[in-house]
């Protein structure tokens, strides 16, 4: 249906203020007046305006070409490590800036040209297209059902139950091979999550200096991170081991330690806690030295290091594990064993 087909009385120009309003029925009180007549754009009636549009489109396409040349020129001409200062942005990489803007402009100009062309020079007469119901007519449906029945009957699947059952059995079983093949994706957990590298006699090594720590190094109010002696960054298993063994060491005045076991496992107020959050394993270490609270930057679980590292806020479910420490013959801090409970996030077998 195009605008010419609309009955005259529905054209807006024919309407006066009231009275001529077409009334349809109870459900839709106002009848559909049909598509409004097509109105011309300036470009449709004024050839000069159309020429202007044509020139604009051509100019946009030309801008795009020039931009592409600019892109290639930037690629060839600008060293990749040159930085420039661009006013509101700051110091940025010149090549990235030049390539991005020229590429962006080249593409945008093509798009803008095409759209301007479509909007001003192509026909803007609205066309109506009929829809057809998606559901098949009853005869088609009947034919399909009949065909299906015929096919099913010819296959004899319904009659020969043995074939049907064994076929379903075979089809149901074979994907199991695929599942079995996934077995070697990884080893079984075993008790790996329960142990870390720490054992009796391992010295606590300061990660900053890579030197073992003496009790006198650790001042009240300071924060130090430690790793087990013998674990070096170049080791193949470094990432996996440090993911469990990382320690956070603080010193609290023994009088301020509220938890009896914590004091017992400390050395003169020096306490060593696992750095791995018991929530989902972020390296927790936002230590507030006045409150002795330590906050996890990922999900804000808060632990009180002066009270057995119990949870005082947030989503973590249990306290940070503490490592029992002492001092060896040479006067260095050492572990007196592994953690007594698994470090890091809780899991089903943790108990």
């Amino acid at each position: 249906m195009s605008s010419q087909d609309i009955p005259e009385e529905n054209l807006p120009a024919e309407q006066d203020a009231h009275g001529a309003v077409g009334v349809a029925d109870e459900k839709d009180p106002f009848a559909d007046p049909g598509l409004p007549p097509h109105e011309h754009r300036v470009q449709d009636i004024d050839e000069r305006a159309a020429r202007r549009s044509e020139r604009t489109v051509a100019m946009l396409f030309t801008v795009s070409m020039l931009s592409t040349i600019g892109f290639i020129a930037s690629y060839v001409g600008i060293p990749h490590d040159k930085s420039i200062f661009v006013f509101p942005i700051g110091h940025i990489n010149a090549l990235n800036f030049a390539l991005g803007l020229t590429l962006g402009l080249a593409l945008f100009a093509i798009g803008a040209g095409a759209v301007h062309w479509a909007r001003t020079l192509m026909s803007d007469e609205e066309i109506a297209d009929e829809r057809h119901p998606i559901e098949a007519p009853p005869e088609v449906k009947a034919k399909v059902m009949a065909d299906f029945k015929q096919g099913a009957k010819e296959s004899a699947l319904g009659r020969r139950k043995l074939i049907r059952n064994t076929m379903f059995g075979a089809l149901a079983l074979f994907p199991l091979s695929g599942v079995v093949l996934l077995r070697d994706l990884g080893p079984l957990p075993g008790t790996k999550l329960r142990h870390t590298m720490w054992r009796k006699g391992l010295q606590l090594v300061n990660v900053n200096t890579n030197e073992p720590l003496r009790p006198s190094d650790v001042a009240v109010g300071s924060l130090t991170f430690a790793k087990p002696e013998g674990l070096e960054e170049h080791d193949e298993e470094f990432q996996t081991e440090i993911a469990k063994a990382a320690l956070m060491i603080v010193r609290i005045q023994p009088d301020n330690i509220k938890d009896k076991r914590e004091l017992e496992w400390s050395y003169e107020g020096i306490v060593a806690y696992s750095k791995i959050c018991t929530h989902v394993g972020c390296p927790i270490s936002l230590y507030e030295q006045q409150t002795h609270h330590v906050l996890c930057p990922c999900h804000q679980s808060t632990f009180d290091l002066s009270d057995g590292a119990r949870v005082i806020f947030g989503p973590a479910g249990h306290a940070l594990p503490q490592l029992r420490i002492g001092v060896n013959d040479q006067g260095y801090l050492e572990a007196l064993g592994d953690f007594e409970e698994p470090v890091g996030p809780a899991f089903w077998e943790r108990g």
């Binding site: 203020a17 309003v21 009334v23 109870e26 009180p29 009848a31 559909d32 007046p33 409004p36 990749h80 942005i89 990489n93 090549l95 990235n96 390539l99 991005g100 803007l101 590429l103 962006g104 402009l105 593409l107 798009g111 095409a114 062309w117 479509a118 192509m122 803007d124 609205e126 109506a128 297209d129 998606i134 994706l185 990884g186 957990p189 999550l193 990660v207 991170f225 790793k227 960054e233 996996t240 993911a243 469990k244 990382a246 989902v280 394993g281 972020c282 390296p283 927790i284 990922c298 804000q300 679980s301 806020f313 947030g314 989503p315 479910g317 809780a346 899991f347 089903w348 943790r350 108990g351």
Partner: protein, 545 residues
């Protein structure tokens, strides 16, 4: 229509080369029949109908730039020492994945640009899908026959989230590594099989040496492959169903009014691809994204504050941040509710919006096709549900960024967490009630407009001194548009006694449906359309205003 005519007329002499190629293809592919039904396919014009195109084009941009990135990226976790041109990392140990991403960013000309286009396009792709989905939701475009396409779109959104997450994790930088660690913790919380799943996923203990390579094949092959299939299906269905349209003069449920594919939409949609690409390229030129060199390589004992995922995963971050730390120990086992409950709610948040169309069609019992879009105000319950869902989602996003709101608005992080805990339950309800009232208010306004005309702003003094505002009557087009929407009657429970006088058992679902239907379409849930009588009475009575 005119295409066939002209080709016939030319076929007498020797056909031009283009036509001969087309003939060749038609003989093998049947392209003429295909073109007959599609070349002049009509698409209605409305800006919100182009949101889907934003998604499609950003998806294409992501694929193009992604292929380029694979040429340089090494999906390996082998340790290497950095010797590239970025000074503050020189000599640092890092995985090859990180090293090659550094190489792309600093030593491949244009590599940084392509990386930034890829990442910006990904954020925009997901944001576009979100808005597109909401457009479809609020206009009721999901109704029959488009429910399947709604699900395709929903799946694309969910798969897009995971494709984004795996891609974000590939550079193996400190920020994304923290995200992967979070994922490991979440997997561990699954009862019974959690530890096994985690060990199978990471090839042993976290982080191990496998996850980058595994995520890589998921990110570049598995998920995009499925998505590509869904995108094609989505588009075929859009063309097959023909686009929906808003009510208006000449627009009925049996037609579609707009511009033909050839030439107008070819130019507009084709041009729009370049516009989208151009805008994203310009953004990548001026704004930095995921500067991995600032974050440094991943080490499981290091972390930075402000550790957040990309925005589309932000609501899950909110869930996990505000959950209380519940943990139950029994018979040597641990049920990590503090992590597992958010892990379960995470898909439920998404499913809540995905199943809504099916709930609504069950309540209305409407089996007809719908091609005319609703104005959101005319479907108050649906609109209120949608706004409540968005509110819910936004509350969780706020929870996901609680540390940044705390520092930027000088608030306590604990207070924000508590606010989110309460708002999680309360805010959607408030949003629902408020939205429904606003919708009804707007319906009243429409009715008022139909009956009394548009307020012209002209004040007139009558001879006896009274001042009145002149109301201009609406045109037939406007009157029709404002009253074209459908109003359902609340469903009734059938008679409790059948025709033989035997008492029929009324099922619980039937009662529930009647109740919901009353809530949707009862007296208090919609403003009746003006009737013919009302209109006639008013217009004949006060002819002058």
């Amino acid at each position: 229509m005119s295409t066939t005519e002209s080709s016939e007329s030319r076929a007498r002499g020797k056909a031009p080369a283009g036509e001969r190629v087309a003939d060749w293809a038609d003989g093998r592919l049947g392209i003429y029949s295909l073109a007959k039904s599609n070349m002049r396919k009509i698409f209605p014009d409305h800006w919100s109908f182009m949101l889907g195109e934003v998604c499609l084009y950003s998806f294409i941009i992501i694929i193009l730039t992604g292929v380029y990135l694979t040429l340089f990226f090494h999906p390996s976790m082998n340790e290497v020492e950095y010797h590239g041109s970025y000074v503050p990392l020189q000599g640092q140990l890092m995985s090859e994945a990180f090293n090659s991403t550094m190489h792309i960013s600093f030593d491949v000309r244009g590599g940084l640009l392509i990386r930034q286009i890829h990442h910006w396009a990904a954020l925009i792709f997901l944001a576009g899908m979100f808005v597109h989905m909401m457009r479809v939701f609020f206009t009721g475009a999901f109704r029959k026959p488009r429910e399947v396409n709604w699900l395709f779109g929903f799946l694309l959104f969910v798969l897009g989230m995971f494709t984004g997450f795996t891609g974000y994790s590939l550079p193996d930088d400190l920020l994304s590594g923290t995200g992967v660690r979070f994922m490991e913790g979440a997997v561990l919380s699954v009862p019974i099989v959690g530890t096994y799943l985690s060990f199978f996923l990471f090839g042993g203990e976290f982080p191990g040496g496998d996850f980058v390579a595994r995520f890589y094949s998921i990110h570049v092959l598995l998920l995009p492959g499925i998505m590509l299939g869904l995108v094609v299906g989505h588009l075929i269905l859009v063309i097959y169903h023909k686009h929906t349209q808003f009510a208006g003069p000449g627009k009925t449920n049996n037609n579609v009014v707009g511009m033909p594919l050839l030439p107008v939409y070819m130019a507009k949609a084709g041009g729009f691809f370049f516009l989208v690409f151009g805008v994203i390229a310009a953004i990548a030129a001026i704004a930095s994204i995921n500067p991995i060199w600032s974050m440094g390589p991943y080490r499981p004992d290091q972390v930075s504050t402000g550790a957040q995922p990309d925005w589309y995963m932000g609501f899950s971050e909110g869930l996990i941040r505000v959950m209380p730390g519940w943990e139950i120990n029994f018979w040597g086992h641990t049920l990590v509710l503090g992590v597992f409950i958010p892990l379960v709610i995470f898909p439920l948040v998404l499913v809540a919006i995905a199943v809504y169309p099916f709930v609504e069609s069950w309540v209305t019992g409407d089996k007809r096709e719908h091609h005319i879009l609703d104005r959101p105000r005319n479907a108050p319950t649906r609109t209120a549900f949608g706004v409540a869902w968005i509110t819910w989602y936004m509350v969780l996003l706020i929870g996901g960024g609680n540390d940044l709101w705390a520092t930027h608005f000088h608030l306590s992080i604990n207070a924000i967490t508590w606010f989110v805990r309460v708002a999680f339950f309360v805010a959607p309800v408030l949003a629902f009630v408020a939205t429904k009232r606003i919708c009804l208010g707007l319906q009243r306004r429409d009715k008022e407009k139909v009956l009394h005309g548009r307020e012209s702003g002209i004040i007139k003094r009558l001879p006896h001194g009274e001042f009145i505002e002149v109301h201009e009557p609406l045109s037939q087009e406007q009157l029709h548009t404002l009253t074209a929407h459908e109003q359902y009657e609340p469903a009734q429970i059938g008679p409790a006694v059948d025709e033989n006088g035997v008492e029929r058992k009324i099922k619980g679902t039937e009662k529930l449906r009647a109740k919901l239907s009353e809530a949707y379409y009862g007296d208090e849930a919609q403003i009746p359309k003006p009737t013919v009588e009302e209109y006639k009475e008013i217009t004949s009575g006060h002819g002058h205003h």
